[in-house]
Amino acid sequence: MDDLEAMENLVRRARQERPPATDAAAGALRRIRASAGRPVRILPLSLVAAAAAVAAAVVLALAIHAWNASADPQAALFPTVEVAAL
């Protein structure tokens, strides 16, 4: 008999094992009640969302300001082209 055959023999015997009984109903229901009654904590999420919104607004304001400050926005984007043309 080799090791794998021995293993298969063990598995055949192990399949006949009767596991001890459990009584999980009370514990599971208690945990379900506890989970269902727990309020969802949205405050941290709200803070992150607010911070992201403020950051986005600042970036947008700076971008608009920069755009308006340039005389010809399209020319300002390609200054090197003008130099090359000269």
Binding site: M7, L10, A14, A24, A28
Partner: protein, 217 residues
Amino acid sequence: MPRPYKRAGTLITLGKAIPLAAGALAMYNVGTVDETDRRDIAASLGGDEAAFARLIRRHEPAVAALAWRFTRDLAEREELVQDVFVEAYFGLEGFRGDAPLEHWLRRIATRVGYRFWKRRSQRGREAPLADLDPPAPPGETDPAAAGAAVQALLSRLPPPERLVLTLMYFDDCSVQEIAGRMGWSRAMVKMRAHRARRRLKAIAQREHLLERLGWTT
């Protein structure tokens, strides 16, 4: 023809009667789900705690037997069984009813057990392999001792390979079933089974399994 069961709704809490329960019962016109289960599922979705307790009691032996293959520690197993039913409760809305409830619970139990092994393997725990006491011929080995020995050997495998062999050995799962249960491809399951057997053979040799079992001739 199985019909998918979908219901618009948010969190169902026990003890809250939701008027959709009667409608849910009507939508469960599927032959594959046991009639008693179907009634209790609908009642559970309606917030009937006693109905869900009946579901637990009816399916607990099957779930506990599978959980036993994930841990032989009684307290850990009890927690795993609870995890399965808690997860089942909160996922009950997603149960499509196109297969018996027990299949669905086995799928959840497999995933819960797999997560448990992955957590445990990070801590580097593996069961010790004890000698059989008393030694017995192959056909007369004490089933509990054989079970402990098999699980100790399997615990030396990485969780994915251990899972494949555990489901094949103890839950009579085919490659297709394991792939479906875990969301893996069939090729991956086959490869893991092949690797697991090869690795297991090496482990058995290293651990002198035959000598420990007293099966050397």
